[in-house]
């Protein structure tokens, strides 16, 4: 009777775990690359090994607890040593582990082979956005979370992809080996897309390498997984995998747009034009620290609105934007923004929120400073 009770409980527990393990939202995704499939199967193998060991070990334990209760008159025996069983239960787990280590080693070797990539992408983590550069293609952009703050505060209903949506996704081709070169500008971040089974820390001063070859077109979402400060929870990743021809067309279009932008450096810009562009740049780059109304969050993030030094001294202002402030969270933007963007955002911050300097900083002026 008692034995059957133990067996029933064991089987019930086992039966419950099967649907749990199968249901997708409860488990690691299988993913859309060969590597992600291999990782998923390693995960399932080790999971089932643990389940089997667990059933045996806990089975014996609960059997003993039921069978050898003193209330049922159990008398204790006297044995307390047996070298043979000690050797067995040292050796058997060792063999299981060796059996597990072999496929794990093979998969790991594959994950580390980033050779023969057809496309190189530089991924840079910044507080709190990702920057993607298609190396050798002159295409680069920032990718910010696009979920409105009102949804986070609960003032608006939350969308389907709440916190997992961006203004510009990373666009990749399917069936091509893409190499990621990964670094960070400020603190350590970590770039993770579960469906691609790529998780790699991006570390200032280091360039890490990883790669992916996506098998199916689609949209794949992930998040930063290394605590990187205040908005760590709000720097999602969206990868859009396109068919090869579609990808080539997209890349060509982006290259053309980049050339257009480069030509904009030479012409004279109107104040309104600069303000319009600057507001967009400010919203995507600066507002996460200096806040939407330029009020900042002192002492870490100084206010820009009504900042007398900023209003009085254009040189000082440009120096901070171009070169950053060492020892603080303010990065140097000379490498990550183009002259038009820098001119526009400088103009915006010099005229918004009652700063009203009337300055229209020209892209050509910035380009000249950058070439010094």
């Amino acid at each position: 009777m008692r034995k059957s009770l133990v067996w029933m409980t064991g089987c019930l527990g086992f039966a419950l775990m099967v649907p749990l393990a199968m249901a997708n939202a409860w488990n690691m995704p299988v993913g859309v690359t060969d590597v992600s499939r291999e990782i998923h199967s390693l995960h399932m193998i080790i999971f089932w090994i643990c389940v089997v060991i667990g059933v045996v070990v806990f089975g014996v334990m609960f059997y003993s607890l039921f069978r050898f209760r003193r209330s049922q008159g159990a008398k204790a025996s006297n044995f307390h040593e047996n070298t043979t069983v000690e050797v067995i239960w040292t050796a058997v787990p060792l063999l299981i582990l060796v059996g597990m280590a072999i496929p794990a080693t093979a998969t790991l070797k594959k994950m580390y082979d980033a050779s023969d990539a057809e496309l190189d992408i530089m991924i840079t983590g910044q507080q709190w956005r990702w920057r993607y550069e298609y190396l050798g293609e002159d295409v680069a952009f920032n990718s910010n979370m696009s979920t409105p703050r009102a949804q986070i505060q609960g003032d608006e209903p939350r969308g389907e992809h709440y916190l997992l949506e961006v203004d510009e996704p990373l666009v990749l081709p399917v069936n091509r080996k893409v190499r990621f070169l990964m670094t960070a500008d400020d603190v350590i971040h970590s770039w993770w897309v579960p469906d691609l089974a790529v998780k790699q820390d991006t570390i200032p001063g280091f360039i890490n390498e990883n790669w992916v070859r996506i098998n199916e077109p689609g949209i794949y979402r992930g998040q930063c997984t290394e605590l990187c400060g205040m908005d760590h929870g709000f720097m999602p990743i969206v990868v859009e995998a396109l068919e090869e021809e579609e990808f080539d067309a997209w890349l060509a279009e982006r290259k053309e747009a980049a050339e257009q932008e480069a030509m904009g450096v030479d012409r004279e810009w109107e104040l309104e034009e600069l303000m319009e562009r600057g507001e967009a740049v400010y919203g995507s780059i600066c507002a996460s620290c200096h806040q939407a109304e330029g009020q900042g969050a002192p002492p870490a993030f100084p206010a820009l609105a009504d900042n007398q030094q900023l209003i009085d001294d254009l040189d000082w202002h440009l120096d901070k934007i171009l070169n950053g402030v060492s020892g603080s969270a303010m990065p140097a933007f000379r490498g990550t923004l183009n002259p038009v963007e820098i001119a526009a955002v400088t103009t915006w911050t010099r005229n918004a929120w009652g700063n009203d300097t009337g300055d229209a900083v020209q892209p050509a002026e910035i380009a000249e400073r950058l070439s010094d």
Binding site: A25, W26, N27, M28, I39, H43, I46, C50, G54, V57, F58, V60, M61, S64, L65, F68, R69, R70, S71, A74, N78, H80, N82, V85, W89, T90, L94, L97, M100, A104, L108, K109, Q151, I152, Q153, G154, H161, L163, D186, V187, S190, P194, A197, K199, I203, P204, G205, F206, N208, G222, T225, L227, C228, G229, M230, D231, H232, G233, P299, G327
Partner: protein, 544 residues
């Protein structure tokens, strides 16, 4: 001074030390607060440690409940991300350094002299000093939350450069408080080693010691080995923040990854520091209530020692995704998997001890059995995490949070509670109230599993750790976790009630409070008088 002992015995020195202590006892002992400030008695200091750790357990627990309350549903409701990060950080720091470690040191202070038949710790004044450093350290740590810019907000692992260049100004005080806590740990560990190696009752060989003593001896060596590494790494942070060095600042030629290597070279042995004494407690309780000697005593000692040695060789398994070379990944994967072997041996030994015993289920036994089951579940997820390729998916998700909470809460914390229930009759002379203890046990077991089991699923489904808000598909798991956490937190109030009631009264306990208990502490009266083993006991080892 009166050495009536056989010549050439290690006890000679310690007896004279105790005689010195008794000489000063001719003056009337100080009363009130001064008694506790100046005490050099191992039992009083042990109680101080335990009370301190209980207070910290509640402070850290309240921080955890703030975190769980914010994560109760999607969106930001109660706190802003800045404060949320301070809560997760302080929860971790307080629980690790303020609750679990001092609780084990408190148990060591109380029980090691009683278990080896010594009159006190080897270095009683140092013992007083190492305790009183702790309130200073944690008052300082907690005060950082009131400083401009707030307290530590970079996680209990405080990875540079988030904890240096980008840290709030209070970080210097955080470093100082950790230094003080570290000194306290090192001094406590030295004292424990000195006591165990020099003050055992005549005739007690190392291989006759109770396993709690053995596991603490090994733990103390781990502490002495790694706390200076922690001190080194936080000193480098201090220099980076205040004196213009660039140990971890890439812009100055430094190396942020070096921080992680140093931190985890301390941090991995540190997690075994928090579990080895738990093994010792469980190895005392299971034989007592199975009324059968511990199976495989010697293999338990060797397994503990191998875990300790391996703990120095596995640190980079916390760093599988920082971009280590392939060879390093393989090395750390293999060594980490190896840890499963001695850990498995321990679990098998406990279960074989139960087999053909004569088992009863008093409160300490309930907690010890829950420890075996739930710690093993934490061990299983640990084995999964050891598989480096799979760790690329698990790393820094709630799967990891589930894993380490399973080994720390129903692992270390349950073992501490088991130890408290086991030794309360010795400390107070009363048995803890059985009904209330059972309520505490069952509420805790249900609460702990409701809190941490769903985290396996949210982690596998893709929820990163340390985020104040999450995507909608994780909502159900988080709701369950938050309710479980509330239940677990509330049920600890029952524990406090049990302890207070037990101090004030209850069923009287005899010297040997549990019929199956064998070690030396059960040969002194209950409650244990302030001074025990003024003359060494007659120790007769088990036949091997």
């Amino acid at each position: 001074m009166a050495p009536k002992l056989p010549p050439h015995h290690p006890l000679e020195q310690s007896t004279s030390a105790v005689a010195g202590g008794q000489a000063s006892a001719h003056h009337s002992p100080p009363r009130g607060i001064m008694r506790w400030l100046l005490t050099t008695n191992h039992k009083e200091i042990g109680s101080l440690y335990l009370i301190f750790s209980l207070v910290m357990f509640f402070i850290g627990g309240i921080f955890a409940l703030v975190v769980r309350a914010e994560l109760f549903q999607p969106g930001l409701q109660l706190v802003q991300p800045e404060f949320f990060n301070q809560m997760t950080t302080m929860h971790g720091l307080i629980m690790v350094f303020g609750a679990v470690m001092p609780a084990f040191t408190g148990l060591a202070n109380w029980m090691i002299p009683l278990q080896v038949g010594a009159p006190d710790m080897a270095l009683p004044r140092l013992n007083n000093f190492s305790f009183w450093l702790l309130p200073v350290a944690f008052a300082l740590l907690l005060s950082t939350m009131l400083m401009p810019g707030g307290g530590p907000n970079f996680g209990w692992t405080f990875y540079a450069p988030l904890s240096t260049t980008y840290a709030p100004p209070s970080t210097t005080f955080f470093i100082l408080s950790l230094h003080i806590a570290g000194i306290s740990s090192i001094l406590g560990a030295i004292n424990i080693v000195a006591t165990i190696l020099n003050m055992r009752a005549p005739g007690m060989r190392l291989m006759d010691m109770p396993l709690f003593v053995w596991t603490w001896l090994i733990t103390a060596f781990l502490l002495i080995a790694v706390m200076p590494v922690l001190a080194g790494v936080i000193t480098m942070m201090l220099m980076d923040i205040n004196f213009g060095t660039s140990f971890f600042n890439a812009a100055g030629g430094g190396d942020p990854v070096l921080f992680q290597h140093l931190f985890w070279f301390f941090g991995h042995p540190e997690v075994y520091i928090m579990i080895l004494p738990a093994f010792g407690i469980v190895s005392a309780i299971i034989p007592t209530f199975a009324r059968k000697r511990l199976f495989g005593y010697a293999s338990m000692v060797y397994a503990t020692a191998s875990i300790a040695v391996l703990s120095f060789l596995v640190w980079a398994h916390h760093m599988f995704v920082v971009g280590l070379p392939l060879v390093a990944e393989l090395f750390f994967m293999y060594t980490t998997m190896l840890i499963a072997v001695p850990t498995g041996v321990k679990v098998f030994n406990w279960i074989t001890t139960l087999f053909r015993g004569s088992i009863t289920f008093e409160p300490p036994m309930l907690f010890a059995l829950a420890f075996v089951v739930l710690f093993t579940i934490g061990g299983f997820s640990g084995l999964m995490l050891a598989i480096a390729p799979a760790d690329f998916q698990y790393h820094d998700t709630y799967f990891v949070v589930a894993h380490f909470h399973y080994v720390l809460v129903p692992g270390a914390v349950f073992a501490i509670m088991a130890g408290v229930y086991y030794w309360l009759p010795k400390w107070t002379g009363h048995y803890p109230n059985v009904k209330l203890s059972q309520w505490h046990f069952w509420l805790s077991v249900i609460g702990v599993n409701l809190t941490f089991f769903p985290m396996h699923f949210s982690g596998l489904a893709g929820m990163p750790r340390r985020i104040p808000d999450y995507a909608l598909q994780f909502a159900d798991f988080n709701l369950v976790s938050s309710l479980g956490a509330l239940l677990f937190g509330a049920s600890q109030l029952v524990f406090v009630a049990v302890v207070i009631l037990c101090v004030r009264g209850g069923e009287k306990a005899p010297a040997k409070a549990w019929e199956g208990a064998e070690d030396l502490e059960w040969s002194v009266p209950s409650p244990a008088p302030l001074h025990t083993f003024d003359t060494p006991p007659n120790f007769r080892p088990h036949e091997h």
